[in-house]
């Protein structure tokens, strides 16, 4: 096979940084192959992508050594628009890439740059609109598309340029599970053909279908090989900040033979080797719901955006108890965020009431409200403004008029709880995404609100940072804070939330203890969600545990009669 992309001892460090982003990367990707690049955040995945089309070092400057040759063109030596003839790239932030008034113009943008005549453009747009499944939405305003549709449009507009190489940097991040499924099946479709595919992702489940997997760690190529070679080595991928495949991890923990990469393969393996007999889950009373006092209550709450034609929320009735850990799940546009914004009075119900400790939200003054309910927005950069972490965290308590002593104590405590002690004098803008996320949490925490709402607290974080963030929230929950998270990451809800609320089209579809909600795969499917591989496996095997460790315990105690639980 001829090689399509050749990395030759490529090293790069960004301007004004001392730590290299890429170190001595050498390797080949053959024509028509599909390479999955994985690694922790900051491992150099995006830098590697940008090096393929010359954005590194032509746009993102720094010390560049070695080189990349793509389809015979040397990336560093040609300007980026020149490289666009052979490389199409879908950058990480798909929102910022969409630029045109409507879908077909977005598809046309690259073709216009190639100076294609109109008839040729039309043909290509027709073809690739079908490939990405957007043919119905030709004239739609791009701003009105869902996250998954936007991402497919971003991919389609690059595909239409028919470059021999296609690079996608984390195409499934920040997209709801259904959108993610669409993108993954699109990647499967694209595999067939002459195109060389390079995709980065944080999730091992996406890598199963690749030809080869590259693992990056601290800017170095830690390992490369076939998915079977790489993904079955749980400790290796975990050391690179990637969550190991649930199926492999379970088989290893149980000392079972075989290393299945998918749930289906795992179930087949278990059945054929009769490792255990699948059974019905026993009805064990799982005491998961807290019986604290009611702190938040929505009564027949409906909401319609001022510009909207239909209700964003319909007749929501919901109570949340003090000390609970709640996950709000659902597709984009299902109303999760809209409902959460009622909890701290950012939105006022059109019909019905929102009560905090039995009093209507409207009765609270703004600063009183901030002490009851804190809200961490999805993007920490939407709130960080101060030049030191201490100043940033002090903003809330100070504006609420806390005295100096309490202020100092609260800052110290919230930095401690978020693992940021020692960061006091650092500039928050220079921290990485995971750390900035923690600064955002700390700055809410410093006010000591009874309830903390977090919108997508783990988006853009790698496995290690995701786990750190969630462990931190678990500690805060143990300290008595009520935690409400809005998330698309199923494993996070499964492993950490006590209660899960499933939303669809502005209504609550299902509300109950997390183990119960995640046992109901039909209901999850009805709101276009699916449990993680681990829980799918749990449901197939009829187990009750929600985490790997508990599942292993449960399986090992097979011999023990159920009554002893």
């Amino acid at each position: 096979m001829t090689s399509s992309i050749v990395f030759d001892h490529l090293s790069f460090s960004y301007q004004n940084t001392s730590i290299p982003a890429l170190q001595d990367i050498s390797g080949e990707m053959s024509r028509g192959s599909f390479t999955m690049v994985m690694g922790h955040s900051g491992a150099g995945k995006s830098t590697l992508c940008c090096a393929i089309n010359g954005l590194v070092p032509r746009f993102l400057r720094g010390d560049y050594a070695g080189g990349v040759i793509v389809e015979g063109m040397e990336a560093g030596k040609n300007i980026v628009p020149e490289m666009a003839q052979v490389v199409g790239i879908v950058l990480q932030d798909f929102e910022a890439q969409l630029f045109s008034t409507n879908v077909e113009l977005e598809m046309a943008f690259g073709l216009e740059n190639k100076c294609l005549p109109r008839t040729a453009m039309e043909e290509r747009i027709d073809t690739y609109m079908r490939v990405v499944g957007l043919e119905e939405l030709r004239k739609r305003d791009t701003a009105t598309l869902s996250g998954g549709q936007k991402q497919r449009l971003a991919i389609g507009s690059v595909l239409a340029m028919e470059t021999p190489v296609l690079v996608m940097d984390e195409p499934t991040t920040d997209i709801d599970p259904e959108g993610r499924r669409h993108i993954l099946s699109l990647i499967r479709t694209l595999r067939v053909g002459e195109r060389t595919l390079v995709v980065t992702d944080l999730d091992a489940e996406a890598a199963v279908q690749a030809d080869q997997v590259w693992l990056l760690k601290d800017g170095q190529l830690a390992a490369q090989g076939t998915p079977v070679e790489i993904l079955t080595d749980s400790s290796l991928i975990e050391s690179c900040g990637v969550r190991p495949l649930a199926t492999v991890a379970l088989f290893q923990a149980m000392n079972w033979p075989g290393q299945p990469l998918t749930v289906e393969a795992a179930v087949a393996e278990i059945e054929s080797r009769r490792l255990i007999c699948p059974r019905r889950p026993e009805c064990r009373a799982i005491s998961t719901l807290t019986n604290g006092k009611v702190i938040l209550e929505a009564r027949n709450l409906s909401y319609r955006y001022p510009s909207g034609d239909i209700n964003a929320l319909n007749d929501i009735a919901l109570t949340i108890n003090e000390g609970d850990f709640v996950a709000m799940l659902g597709q984009n546009g299902s109303g999760k965020t809209t409902l959460a914004k009622h909890f701290n009075g950012l939105l006022k119900p059109t019909v019905g009431d929102m009560l905090i400790r039995g009093r209507p939200v409207n009765d609270y003054r703004r600063h009183k409200l901030a002490r009851e309910v804190g809200y961490v927005f999805q993007n920490p950069d939407h709130q960080i403004f101060a030049s030191t972490v201490r100043e940033e965290v002090a903003f809330g308590p100070r504006i609420l008029g806390m005295d100096r002593k309490t202020l100092e104590r609260n800052i110290a405590e919230s930095l401690d709880a978020t693992g940021l002690s020692g960061f006091e004098d650092k500039n928050p803008f220079l921290l990485n995404r995971g750390e900035r996320q923690r600064v955002a949490v700390a700055s809410i925490l410093a006010v000591k609100p009874a309830v903390i709402i977090l919108d997508e607290p783990t988006t853009g974080l790698d496995y290690v940072h995701q786990r750190d963030t969630m462990e931190m929230l678990k500690r805060l929950n143990q300290l008595g804070h009520t935690i409400i998270i809005i998330t698309h990451a199923m494993w996070i809800a499964e492993a950490y939330a006590r209660r899960s609320i499933l939303m669809k089209e502005g209504r609550i579809l299902l509300d109950g203890s997390t183990p119960t909600v995640f046992s109901d795969e039909n209901m999850l499917a009805a709101s276009s969600l699916a449990p993680s591989d681990l829980i799918r496996l749990r449901n197939r095997l009829g187990l009750a545990a929600m985490t790997l460790t508990d599942m292993v315990k449960e399986l090992k105690s097979e011999a023990v009669p159920p009554g002893s639980f």
Partner: protein, 264 residues
């Protein structure tokens, strides 16, 4: 607030060549400058509103209702103090207001509203890409035309980010309704810095995406929507030019539509 003004319809105005529409807006501006009598300007405004109705875009005006009312009120209140007229209504410490200056203020308010609405008419019926394309065809250098179209495109994006940032800081206890001037000043930093930084990040990223798709500001490119001048365009331009000529004649030869002579 949603600052996207483009209103996707298929009316005769949407189908006009962008060059015609840009020229047309300039002609409406010129027509507005012919008179300073409120009645005459009100007539022009009615004409613009009539075009809005046929372009099915009245709802675009609704989005900006507060701004439009504000502009009008300011103009009506402030102008009379700066203009002297014959029929003095009242005097106070050297300030005087006459019935002519009142009418003039009224006319200026109407004129400002007509300007803004004529501009909105262009934005409501013309896609960004068409505006850029039209400007280029009118001989504006490519980078300038592209920068202008980009600015129009990014306004709603930054407004959205701004709204999120306000919500994020309000959640932390930032009091936006405070009457205390010092608190009001202090609240500026927590809002402006995140807005500025996110705008920088966004534009930088956008530039990367555009270059990656082969875009170069200095080289010619084809256009998916090829604008073409048709009979309809000639008709529209003809009607507007004739109207302008007629207005010039009314003002200069017949001295119609003047409340304060010697002023625009």
């Amino acid at each position: 607030m949603n600052l996207t003004f483009y209103n996707d319809e298929a009316t005769w105005l949407h189908r006009l060549d962008p060059r015609t529409k840009i020229g047309g807006v300039l002609l409406i501006f010129a027509i507005c400058l012919c008179f300073n009598h409120p009645l005459f300007i009100a007539l022009i405004l009615t004409g613009v509103l009539a075009i809005f109705t046929t372009a099915k875009s009245m709802k675009v005006l609704w989005k900006l209702r507060f701004l439009l009312v504000l502009l009008f009120v300011f103009s009506v209140v402030l102008w009379p103090f700066f203009i002297k007229g014959k029929t003095v209504l009242f005097q106070w410490h050297g300030l005087e207001v006459s019935s002519e200056s009142l009418l003039y203020g009224f006319a200026m308010g109407l004129r400002l509203m007509t300007f803004v609405r004529a501009g909105l008419l262009l934005l409501a019926t013309t896609k960004n890409e068409e505006i850029a394309n039209g400007l280029i065809r009118l001989g504006i250098p490519y980078p300038v035309a592209f920068a202008l179209a980009t600015a129009i495109r990014l306004a709603p994006t930054f407004a959205d980010a701004g709204a999120t940032i306000v919500q994020a800081q309000v959640s932390r206890g930032l009091d936006l309704d405070s009457k205390n001037i010092f608190i009001r000043f202090k609240r500026f930093t927590p809002l402006s810095i995140p807005i500025f930084i996110s705008a920088m990040r966004y534009t930088n990223f956008l530039a990367m995406a555009l270059e990656s798709k082969g875009f170069r500001p200095d080289t010619p490119r084809t256009s998916y929507y090829e604008a073409r001048i048709t009979g309809r365009d000639w008709l529209a331009m003809g009607v507007l030019t004739l109207t302008f000529a007629a207005c010039l004649y009314l003002r200069l030869s017949l001295h119609w539509g003047i409340i304060i002579p010697g002023r625009l």
